[in-house]
């Protein structure tokens, strides 16, 4: 099962809303300038952190399932992690949990 198929089973809140606010901010300049491990790119269970062909880290919040992993995976201070706003934020609603 691919990660895309897996994430297809997840119910997200406020998906497709243009003004939805991000609950996680990543300073990828830190990832790309001084992080020795780029751990989030292979530890995030929702593949929100990816590495491109040039080896640069990118982050997208849309697939985030609010697990918290990146808050601990990053020890460089690049990740600012908050809970999503119920009305305007993204994030999950588990059907089973």
């Amino acid at each position: 099962m691919t990660i895309a198929e897996r994430l297809g089973t997840v119910s997200y809140r406020n998906q497709g809303r243009n003004d939805a606010s991000a609950h996680i901010h990543v300073d990828t300049d830190i990832c790309n300038s001084r992080c020795p491990h780029k751990g989030t790119t292979y530890m995030c269970p929702a593949n929100c952190y990816t590495v491109d062909a040039e080896g640069l880290v990118h982050f997208q919040v849309e697939d985030c399932i609010e697990c918290g992993t990146c808050m601990y995976a990053c020890d460089q201070g690049a990740v600012t992690w908050k809970y999503p706003d119920p009305e305007q934020g993204l994030g999950v609603t588990w059907n089973l949990g």
Partner: protein, 441 residues
């Protein structure tokens, strides 16, 4: 109606709902806020709720056909794996199959929502039926402090005040950090990440495959190939017509290994012959993941109470994997109950200072929970040692393969086989050291 609650509870998981139940039973005027659409909407666990305490909150819960649990644990299995083999300790007993059942499988979106309905009923029956509330879709952004004491919460533009606040916000305890009970940055050393899938079967197929009678169920934990060298292990639990299958992986080790990704590890685990045989024909309904604390006592908040505030459940780092079971939800329930009892006693005294709320810490220390967490720290460290998820399972499987192989050659003594397996995967010295440590289990 006064403008101040006796108590505000942050989080509608098991800790928060258990606290709310006890608040209602003690006729406290309280507000429980949950950031999800409903209680359970944001919650993930393996998961087995161990112990019998649910029966204390919801007497005879098993008699109701719509009770929120999945199955009773009647059959337990601990499996050691290498790439091809599975060697299990297997225990099944009718002793487990009678009330009050001491282990139930749950799916949190369903279970927590059901428990919330029981809290609503308790509020109805309390002295403050119209003045206590469970409110979903409210995110607490900050705790309000006056002269160093917690006096309320802020959610968006709105503020709510109370004599005290019970934090039941889960492992990602941002509010506990806000008031300095936990450092702002918690290192990867003290957390793990769980990934799981819930896989559906025809209920009859599931019951036949796992030999389940009525509402009996199986809990199966895995060490070894399950996590492919990464610190951690696997689990498989039977629900009503689904199976929860997943891995718990040590965050620091995962980072140091540099991959593979958690969901790729999960795929490989699911493809192991022993697991694949159990999952064949199932349909994956939902993938989920969540951080989980490791039960290392060094990671606990520096205190679980302060002026006007109490910290419960995983927000307080209360979880233990002693090798016998992963206990998180029963710890959440117990700590939630104790916190609410402390609030009820503080209300009697009209004193919500730290000195008064210390009674929660005292009750926690006296309970099975802190006794076990303190008593089994060696077990926690042993289970996190590489030998336990690499050499030991490989050695067991190697021995098993020799022992259970019957071919047309002279049969060797089991002791000779064991020696071979130890030499191949470890050493006698290592095993003696491990055996010495294992006395603590």
């Amino acid at each position: 109606m006064e403008d101040k609650f006796d108590c505000i509870i942050v989080g509608g998981g098991i800790a928060g709902l258990s606290a709310a139940m006890v608040c209602a039973q003690n006729n406290l005027r309280f507000l429980l806020v949950e950031r999800g659409e409903f209680c359970g909407a944001k919650n993930v666990s393996g998961g087995v709720l161990w112990g019998t305490e649910l029966a204390r909150l919801v007497p005879d819960y098993w008699k109701a056909p719509d009770a929120g649990f999945e199955r009773f644990i009647r059959h337990r299995r601990l499996t050691f794996m290498d790439e091809q083999s599975a060697f299990s300790l297997d225990f099944k007993s009718d002793h487990f199959d009678q009330p009050p059942y001491a282990g139930i499988t749950v799916l949190r979106a369903k279970f927590d929502n059901w428990l919330a309905s029981k809290v609503e009923a308790a509020i109805e029956a309390s002295a403050f039926a119209d003045e206590s509330f469970l409110v979903p879709d409210v995110l607490v952004e900050e705790l309000l402090l006056e002269s160093g004491a917690v006096v309320g919460i802020r959610a968006g533009e709105e503020t709510f005040y109370a004599d005290c606040v019970i934090l039941a916000e889960g492992v990602n305890n941002l509010l506990t950090r806000q008031i300095g009970l936990q450092p702002e940055y918690v290192p990867a050393d003290y957390v793990a990440v769980g990934v799981k899938e819930v896989i559906r079967f025809d209920q009859k197929v599931l019951e036949d495959r796992f030999q389940l009678q009525d509402r009996s169920g199986l809990s199966n934990e895995f060490v070894g190939f399950a996590s492919q060298g990464v610190e951690g292990g696997g689990f498989l639990y039977t629900n009503l017509d689904t199976v929860s299958v997943g891995l718990v992986l040590g965050m620091k080790d995962l980072r140091e290994k540099g991959g593979p990704k958690p969901y790729d590890l999960l795929d490989t685990f699911k493809r192991h012959p022993a697991v694949a045989d159990m999952l064949r024909g199932g349909e994956s309904l939902e993938y989920a993941a969540h951080v989980v604390s490791t039960g290392d006592i060094r990671a606990l908040p520096k205190e679980v109470y302060a002026d006007g505030v109490l910290v419960t459940g995983e927000a307080a780092g209360l979880l233990l994997n002693s090798g016998k079971a992963i206990q998180g939800m029963d710890y959440a329930m117990h700590s939630g109950i104790l916190a609410a009892e402390a609030v009820a006693a503080a209300k009697q005294d009209e004193d919500f200072s730290a000195a008064s709320l210390k009674r929660y810490r005292d009750a926690l220390d006296a309970s099975y929970l802190m006794q076990d967490m303190r008593g089994f720290q060696d077990a926690v460290h042993l289970l996190h040692s590489p030998a336990m998820f690499q050499a030991v399972p490989n050695l067991f499987c190697d021995f098993g393969r020799q022992f259970f192989t019957i071919d047309n050659a002279p049969t060797r003594k089991a002791s000779a086989m064991l020696k071979d397996s130890i030499r191949k995967h470890s050493s006698f010295l290592e095993m003696m050291k491990l055996g010495f440590k294992a006395r603590k289990l």
